[in-house]
């Protein structure tokens, strides 16, 4: 579908609302099963089975987990700053889910005479919005750890501050190359540009690698999981969280991983486009492949040390990402 046609068919507001509801739930469902997939996959890599007791093949595991988390006694430390302590996980979960609103997963369809776009909202600054939301999400980790009045949490928060803020910069610079090539911050147009030219992973390979490394750090996943390094800080910023509040932090981590992978697919792997199969299926396949790499990393790599992480972020990743953006800008201007 051409952008002109899409422009002509304006989506009624109530379709957006329905879509938002459906997609939010889809994301939550995907998150729930992502935990099972991850545990099963890690299990296989670890020479064990992973969850296989609850329901057939352990498929009801997330429901059991959710019930367990909901029914847990909700306590919090005496010295905690109550409001911030309660708000932090909510903020984390909210920013994580809402970032998904701008991810396109299809070209848009005509259903029953109405036009249904392939994303909830198609804003012109979609990429900036995602970056901004993830930046707001950092507050949840920082504030949550600080507000829970525990030394381990405080250390976790400190690490979060340093790590996420410094990798945010590289993250932004890494996607700049794509923005320059597509000439837009609108994710739908970036996908369209890749359909015309080529998957941006080919010309922007360096950019993609920077993006991926920064993304792993942004989502607190191994080997950059310092803010919650279990062997060092017990559980980092969420040491004092239990029950569903802990669950929300966990949820935000997984959904961030999901959002980030979806963004990677959109920016570098042609988004939903692909032959024969319908668009959402292609989108899911690519998403799955990226997420698999995340899990694979977790099973393989040891954790970096704090100073090494900072050194890598500022002395390697940032210069490379900057050079990549500059080189792209120069080349795009010349040709």
């Amino acid at each position: 579908m051409t952008p002109a046609l899409a422009q002509a068919l304006v989506e009624p507001w109530w379709i957006s609302v329905i879509k938002a509801f459906v997609i939010a739930n889809l994301v939550l469902g995907t998150f729930a099963y992502l935990t099972v997939v991850e545990r099963k996959l890690l299990g296989r890599m670890h020479l064990r089975y992973g969850p296989n007791r609850v329901g057939p093949f352990g498929l009801l595991q997330p429901i059991a987990d959710l019930m367990k988390l909901l029914r847990k006694a909700s306590f919090f430390p005496k010295g905690a700053v109550t409001m911030l302590y309660i708000l932090a996980p909510i903020l984390a979960a909210f920013t994580a889910i809402s970032a998904f609103a701008v991810i396109p997963f299809g070209p848009g369809w005509e259903i029953g005479g109405y036009y249904v776009a392939g994303q909830i909202v198609d804003v012109s600054i979609a990429l900036l919005l995602i970056l901004a939301l993830s930046a707001v999400g950092i507050y949840a980790f920082v504030v949550g750890g600080w507000a829970s009045d525990s030394k381990y949490s405080l250390l976790g928060s400190m690490r979060t501050c340093a790590q996420l803020v410094s990798y945010e910069v590289s993250f932004g610079l890494a996607v700049l190359g794509v923005v320059i090539m597509a000439g837009s911050l609108r994710l739908t147009e970036i996908v369209a540009a890749q359909q015309e030219q080529i998957w941006f992973v080919v010309p922007q390979l360096v950019g993609f690698l920077c993006f991926f490394v920064a993304g792993v750090a942004e989502t607190n996943r191994a080997p950059f999981d310092l803010p919650e390094a279990e062997q060092e800080l017990v559980a980092g910023y969420h040491t004092e969280y239990g029950g569903i509040r802990w669950g929300m932090f966990q949820m935000s981590e997984y959904i961030n991983m999901l959002t980030f992978s979806a963004l990677g697919v959109t920016l570098f792997f042609g988004g939903w486009s692909g032959p024969i199969l319908p668009a959402p299926i292609w989108f899911l396949l690519k998403l799955g492949a990226l997420i698999f790499v995340f899990m694979w990393l977790r099973a393989t790599l040891p954790r970096l040390r704090y100073d090494q992480l900072m050194k890598f972020g500022w002395k390697v990743l940032l210069p490379v990402a900057t050079l990549n953006a500059i080189a792209t800008a120069v080349l795009v201007t010349i040709f």
């Binding site: 890690l42 890599m45 670890h46 020479l47 064990r48 030394k151 381990y152 405080l154 250390l155 400190m158 690490r159 191994a222 080997p223 999981d225 310092l226 390094a229 279990e230 062997q231 060092e232 800080l233 017990v234 977790r298 099973a299 393989t300 790599l301 040891p302 954790r303 970096l304 040390r305 704090y306 100073d307 090494q308």
Partner: protein
């Protein structure tokens, strides 16, 4: 107080330094600069006894300046069980079961050292088959201990998978233990005079199968860790302990050998069949966490070699000495021989009497010099039992190795010292 180790100009990593950085008073406490404390920059954290990576119940009170450890105090005793005192209240052959429970990872070594002390007091001759089988079991146990160390040590650096791979091989070793002793841990397979039972049918084949697969597995582990930049970054130049410091702090075993001191009791004071088997003592010179890792990895290969030689050279013959005053008579004799019945009754009710005297028997356990000091007053119970445990001694080196480390280094260093708190606290 501390001499900063010289840095390599190329890699900017600390190099192993010459001499000692221990002041006159050997520190078991790393003290904070009072200026820092006045400025309010110090965050005091209670690290353990309940913490994911303190190897049981080691409690460290650490003072942090940012992420840097500037003060450290080790608190031990949470696993104090009074093993030594309990053993004094039991007859010798019952006390043997206590020894392996101190170090629940290298249990056969603890078991052997106590049995060896009894045998030395009794001046017993052990049949060669028992000697060789003990050597084999001790080396399997060394492999077991190092596998547990490698798995948990890598886990503490965040390499979760290594834990499962190591425990796969550990399980194979436990299967072998189960085959000979009936129990997977704390087998009580050694006893004064030899072994508790004959080597079971099929053991040689199983053990051979294990020896055939193990070297390839060690290659696998090394492939996963040695080829990994993050692992090397995390371990090289961290937790430095110079040869002089290591000796001054009474270190032994892999920690000492990783600091460049070529010392192994198996070779310098051979016991069991170590004189007859061919093995190398791995020594590394760097004195850091990586060197300790290298020493243990190479030791694992040597252990497989020794096990293989024990399998090939296992002599035939009796598995226990024919010493009726100490060893239970064969079961079938009880129905026909009055003498045997009396011996059996006396041994089970009263136990055997050990001549008056005192001995100290050191062996090379997977963690270092494990010694048993045993005093007998001539009765059926030990008058005093005391163990020199490497896990306890190695904690002495913790403040020296950890000065100015980051929290993440602290974890890596604790792991590399490989202390078992059950043995340290006893």
């Amino acid at each position: 107080m501390a001499i900063a180790p010289a840095r390599d100009p190329l890699t900017n990593r600390p190099r192993i330094y010459e001499g000692s950085r221990i002041p006159e008073r050997v520190p078991t406490i790393l003290e904070v600069d009072p200026v820092l404390r006045e400025e309010g920059d110090i965050l005091e954290i209670n690290f353990g006894p309940n913490h994911p990576s303190t190897h049981g119940v080691l409690r460290l009170i650490i003072q942090l300046n940012g992420e840097r450890v500037v003060g450290l105090e080790a608190v031990i005793g949470y696993l104090h069980t009074g093993f030594e005192k309990n053993m004094e209240a039991k007859t010798y052959w019952k006390a043997i079961t206590y020894a392996p429970r101190m170090d629940y990872v290298a249990y056969q070594a603890n078991e052997y050292v106590f049995v060896a002390a009894i045998e030395k007091l009794l001046q017993m001759e052990i049949p060669p088959k028992a000697t060789w089988m003990r050597t084999l079991m001790l080396e399997l146990n060394r492999l077991h201990s190092h596998l547990v160390w490698l798995g948990t040590g890598a886990l503490e650096l965040g390499a979760v998978s290594m834990f499962w791979y190591c425990f796969r091989e550990r399980d194979a070793i436990l299967d072998l233990f189960e085959m000979v002793g009936g129990a997977r841990m704390h087998t009580r397979y050694f006893q004064a005079g030899g072994l508790a039972e004959d080597i079971p049918i099929g053991f040689y084949e199983e053990c051979q199968r294990f020896c055939d697969t193990m070297p390839a597995r060690i290659d696998e582990y090394e492939g996963m860790l040695d080829g990994q930049a993050i692992f090397l970054e995390r371990t090289k130049g961290v937790g430095l302990l110079s040869a002089a410091d290591a000796v001054a702090l009474g270190q032994s075993g892999p920690v000492l050998r990783a600091s460049g001191v070529d010392w192994d009791i198996r070779r310098s004071e051979p016991y069991l069949a170590y004189d007859d088997v061919d093995f190398d003592v791995p020594v590394e010179a760097d004195g850091d966490v990586y060197a300790r890792y290298r020493v243990r990895m190479r030791e694992m290969r040597e252990s497989v070699r020794i096990v293989q030689q024990c399998l090939d050279g296992m002599p035939e013959g009796p598995w226990i000495a024919d010493e009726r005053k100490v060893v239970l008579p064969p079961r079938h004799e009880l129905h026909t021989s009055m003498e045997s019945l009396i011996h059996h009754f006396k041994l089970v009710t009263e136990g055997y009497r050990v001549p008056e005297g005192e001995v100290y028997v050191p062996i090379e356990s997977p963690r270092g010099e494990l010694g048993c000091y045993l005093v007998s007053d001539g009765g059926p119970r030990p008058w005093r039992v005391r163990f020199r445990t490497p896990s306890y001694v190695v904690l002495q080196a913790a403040p020296t190795a950890m000065s100015n480390a980051l929290i993440a280094d602290l974890i890596a260093i604790v792991a590399s010292l490989d202390n078992v708190m059950g043995e340290a606290d006893r």
